[in-house]
Symmetry: D2
Subunit: 435 residues, 4 copies
Amino acid sequence: MIDIIKNIATEIEQDIINVRRDFHKYPELAYREFRTASLIARKLKDLDCEIKIGREIMDADTRYALPSEDVLQKEFKRAAAQGGDKELLEQVKGGFPAVAAIISNGAGPVIGVRVDIDALPIQESANEKHPPCKNGFASVNEGAMHACGHDAHAATGIGIVQVLMQLKDKIHGTVKVIFQPAEEGACGAFPIVQSGFLDDIGQIFAIHYFSQWKLGEITCVRYPGHLATAKLNAVFRGESAHAGGQPELGRNAMVAAANAILNLYAIPRNSNGGTRINVGTLKAGSGRNVICDEAVMEVEFRGQSDELKDYMHQNVIRVLKASAEMSDCKLEIIQMGSAPGGGSDDAYADIIMDYAQKTGVLKPRTEQRSYGSEDFYFMLERVRQSGGTGANINIGSAPGGKAHSPEFDLNESVLKDTVIFVSGLLLDIMENPRT
Amino acid sequence: MIDIIKNIATEIEQDIINVRRDFHKYPELAYREFRTASLIARKLKDLDCEIKIGREIMDADTRYALPSEDVLQKEFKRAAAQGGDKELLEQVKGGFPAVAAIISNGAGPVIGVRVDIDALPIQESANEKHPPCKNGFASVNEGAMHACGHDAHAATGIGIVQVLMQLKDKIHGTVKVIFQPAEEGACGAFPIVQSGFLDDIGQIFAIHYFSQWKLGEITCVRYPGHLATAKLNAVFRGESAHAGGQPELGRNAMVAAANAILNLYAIPRNSNGGTRINVGTLKAGSGRNVICDEAVMEVEFRGQSDELKDYMHQNVIRVLKASAEMSDCKLEIIQMGSAPGGGSDDAYADIIMDYAQKTGVLKPRTEQRSYGSEDFYFMLERVRQSGGTGANINIGSAPGGKAHSPEFDLNESVLKDTVIFVSGLLLDIMENPRT
Amino acid sequence: MIDIIKNIATEIEQDIINVRRDFHKYPELAYREFRTASLIARKLKDLDCEIKIGREIMDADTRYALPSEDVLQKEFKRAAAQGGDKELLEQVKGGFPAVAAIISNGAGPVIGVRVDIDALPIQESANEKHPPCKNGFASVNEGAMHACGHDAHAATGIGIVQVLMQLKDKIHGTVKVIFQPAEEGACGAFPIVQSGFLDDIGQIFAIHYFSQWKLGEITCVRYPGHLATAKLNAVFRGESAHAGGQPELGRNAMVAAANAILNLYAIPRNSNGGTRINVGTLKAGSGRNVICDEAVMEVEFRGQSDELKDYMHQNVIRVLKASAEMSDCKLEIIQMGSAPGGGSDDAYADIIMDYAQKTGVLKPRTEQRSYGSEDFYFMLERVRQSGGTGANINIGSAPGGKAHSPEFDLNESVLKDTVIFVSGLLLDIMENPRT
Amino acid sequence: MIDIIKNIATEIEQDIINVRRDFHKYPELAYREFRTASLIARKLKDLDCEIKIGREIMDADTRYALPSEDVLQKEFKRAAAQGGDKELLEQVKGGFPAVAAIISNGAGPVIGVRVDIDALPIQESANEKHPPCKNGFASVNEGAMHACGHDAHAATGIGIVQVLMQLKDKIHGTVKVIFQPAEEGACGAFPIVQSGFLDDIGQIFAIHYFSQWKLGEITCVRYPGHLATAKLNAVFRGESAHAGGQPELGRNAMVAAANAILNLYAIPRNSNGGTRINVGTLKAGSGRNVICDEAVMEVEFRGQSDELKDYMHQNVIRVLKASAEMSDCKLEIIQMGSAPGGGSDDAYADIIMDYAQKTGVLKPRTEQRSYGSEDFYFMLERVRQSGGTGANINIGSAPGGKAHSPEFDLNESVLKDTVIFVSGLLLDIMENPRT
């Protein structure tokens, strides 16, 4: 079977790479993946695959940190202008750029595969040696870049569907490949969970490339795994005044922010496990000689457990409030994305690693540590709630720059191997159910 | 004589007001007053007045805080598109939007009158009750506004030239009316001083309206007068890192900035007189989950004497350096504008106030306190160095919103009275030299 | 008359100096001037002078910052052991070490003279060159020192009484010489005012030596004069925890204090006049590896007007509260002493300076600036409320170390001259009433 | 054998308890355990046991954080007055209060047992319900208390020697029981290591009670075990000034300390493992109205590895330096105690736990986590360097208050059981060498 898959994958490899490069050239930020989602859906439809799209798999009310209507409209127009699929664009309009492929054949397990599709607010390197520049597919969308490989994840997802559709009669059960928007910021998984689309899934896994691991190394992230995280924006509002004339009339939002910054980083370490805190951005003030009347900061925090995340949350809120009070400012807290912490289920991860061992397509990697956070765990939690299981698969794709950097890149040969591995794995699991 | 002047002023009043409204509608920020300067020059030329313009009265090398070449070019195009004088624009190109009128008749004192012409980076109110909105001359340049009355100062300057040109034969000496750019930020006066244009001036005064003083009240700012000031930008540069993944690899420019903010405001009070400090704006960080690698802050400080300003300067530099070191960041300090502190010479101020008393055109105001800073004192210092004297005239123009606020406005009837007063004063001083 | 006074003063000079040295050797802190007060009272009684003492001139309920009963008792015992007057000690027991002399002869003005008698919590220099060491009268009370000349003020007051008692028949009216405890910390004047003892006084002045002014220079402090001040202690109470074991269980009073310190100093400058703020001492924490559960800080603030003092007060309270909240600590604020700001009445000061000019005993000093604060203004305010007037006299007594330093000293020859000057002034004013 | 041991232990139980209570009543801080050490040595000698004492087992030059000569002398006198052994006191004079018992019989392994003997700078509770109060052995040394059970450790050590001396002919090898001073602050182990006394030891273990674990539960601390730690004092020295008069002349050590506090706690978390930081105490300033010229803080930091401790160390130094610079202060850093991180060797710990299982004297505890730090690891590291092994034994002794709290206590019945267990273990290991 694996040889059949390998042949198909070889045939479609260039297509997959082209798709990745196209997505790379037109990166789209969270909730604005209109072009990307519409083209994915188009390709799936062209494969005669059943799809779900937009509001069908995305709950409207739990889309935290949604951009303004203005931004959504402007970006929608851009997406159309950049070759989004006319017909399907309508279905993702308004901030619903999610798509899923459903490949079903008879009774059997329902298995989910999640790939994410959004880009990052990073300006891509213009260095001529940077492969996307050299090969003409560097980002044309200013300030946006696929600097975390989600272009490749999306292309891989399409490749998997392509293989499975060709081998549809070999399937015993159902595969749902979910193309999720807004993973960066940890916003996109939750509304998909809330839509109910995962409720019949018994097994689920996510795929992520790591450009600083050796090409083709595979691992499943295990405990303590990814950190639980939550993100929020804090807005301090004071009162402006002429800084030379009557400084005593000001209520200084700049000072409120400064106090918050120092005290957020100073939240006590916790003996129950690792925590994180960051004030990533701050914009404050309107003019040099004006007491600052507004400061806006983007904050995130994490913990090795949900309890640790909650510990940080409580402290963050208290520090923000006290900082506002310190300068007699008002405080608005805007909750942004969040994700539970977690890691793969051991038994399921073992199945995946055994398959890697057995087939030799990818090579097991000893280290199972990861860092950062992943909103995929919202999905895995839901699947577990119905008695299911899952894993988070990481695959090495060196060489390539550091994730989230302007020089990020990956080795495109990982795409074909991953398509082979995942397609084979899915067929194998369905053929020989082990749980 | 005063009656003749009053008649002329009454004739030209509507012109002056129209000019003010035109300038108000097309506000231009520091060094970018291309349209304003070219139109002033055009009007002066149309009055057959001798003018000096651009590099003739502005030293290129001491223009601190000059915008980038890009900005200058873009703004130059805008100025042309908004009706700047085609021919004269060329002479202010590249960041030289200064103009002066020279009205000379025989021997006698050389007297300078300084008016400033630049706008502020403030978005004008869109409130329908705001007079510029009601009367259709609100700013059309986004983010720029004449919120400190420099539109009216410029129009007043033109009005004065108009009167004096009609009474040129009554003049015994020389009047130089200087239309200065870039007063906000305290950058424009110094390069004019450095051009040598003031070297033959024996008396000089500046005119400024205050919308929160009663209409027609006049005073000369006296000791302790305006504060000495200096402005600088501080850029902290650290190292970014994934805030969840490897926070220990970051060098946090956000924290450096926070320490700087708190410690700048905490610079000790000084028993020798008043001081001021402000961190007006801060922009820091690129993404929520990235350790901030760059923070840019706009700082200003003041003192009731140059010594106090220097005291603040020393402390500011030390705090900035230590804050950078605290987070292992690099620090760049970019010196922006500055101005000496000062006030009117008492004897000269008395002459002006006596003239007000005598003519009754404007009404002496008891309070002589002012606040903020003024780079006019660079001019006054130069004049004093050659044995001259001068004063800083403030005139009430209520009703009108708070200075530097989006609702700022002034009572336009102050323009005519000021034109009368200043023209009369100039003629009187030249007729009866008192020093 | 002045010659008679000079003769008397010359006779008693050595006595006065001996008294000063005795008080210097046994310095007593605020409310604990038991020995000093009892011995002053004894000397006054021995002169057959009418006295008021203890509760007679000191309201019990407004003695802020009173030490604990324990301390008072311990110090009372010490005072007795160090030669306090057995009989009179009883009358100042419990924290009432105030004494006043009343010298009255017929109708006439009632004039108050205030001298203060308390020492400072400073360890006196043991340097052999320090005159009190060289001459064997350095402080024997550990941690207490007359480092502000109140020993000399007290001796001067006694000298004045001595002169006036000898010339009692020359008096036309009443002189009240008030020996005030607890001036440092600004606590002693108010309870004396509240006792009603000043209610019949029409003129009042205080005497203070300055060791860094030339010997014999005299001035009256004039507007803006001394700063209004208030003092308070802030106690932050958190929760301790093992810093290595479970830091997350702590509520860190150390961090609360650190936030308070930075933000207190950063209270905005005020355009209405000078302000001051200081966190003088902080004691925090019990052990290196324990999260700090208590921090105690001594704070003071000042303003050039009572409004400015209140402005600071409001800000101080808000900062302290927010700092406590920042670390989830409890806050206790203990109000300590305070004093209104102020300066001499001009007309009355002129009388005094004229007298200096006329007699040549002391030499007028041009500079009238002072700094620091004085609770004498509570007294002056009360006298003004009943239509009276007053002044604050400062007299140079160089050479001598810096005030409030371990090396402080003064030129003892100033005592005789001051006794002459003040006695003469009092007789002169009563003889020739000018108000 | 175990039954013989039990009988002996039962006989001496009351003695051991009495010793513990005696030590508890006379607690002695680090390097000042003169009475304790001399009495331990006396008891060992009375048992005819060979001892080493003072400089014999303590290197003079590596005693970090030694108190001043004055303190040592004063405390030595106190120890003598409180019943220290006259003869043996001389041998621990000058800061060498270490003792070791050597029990040797024929060839065989050399095994070390370390118990610590110092008290903490904590004021013991005066609560009548607190058992030491109820039973009359509460601390009589103000500000010192056995709040971590070292009194019981010392008594246990003596008990073990007592048992082993009675069974000396059953010994096959050598037991060295080391009574270590100055464990709190992590100062005492290193000079003992440096003396060479451990160089022939092949196995070593420490004993520590935990009053919040069930009575008789035993565990060996395993990886990640105790944290590596280092401690230092930071002294900021600025310049004082009158806070009201000339605040601009001060260089404020209080502000330096405040910046240090906030920024030390804000040292970034490290993805390689847990870290800790604490500013335990701060003493700053001399008077309310004086700009603070000296601030002294006690700092400690820890890491789950020596690399993490070094990471903290680097950051601590940088923050302290920058904080000093911020206020133009001088900085002195005084290195205090330190300890490597670590845990028991697994194989050796297994031997100990097996013995517990087998004998049932103490009951194995599942949890092996510990917290805090232990300078015992200096000893274990040295033993490992010569190819040896060791473990850190923790034994539950509930009920009893929280460690390092004024209410700390322990269940005295743990002493007998521990004496039995350790004596039995030692004999068993020597009888049946397993490594």
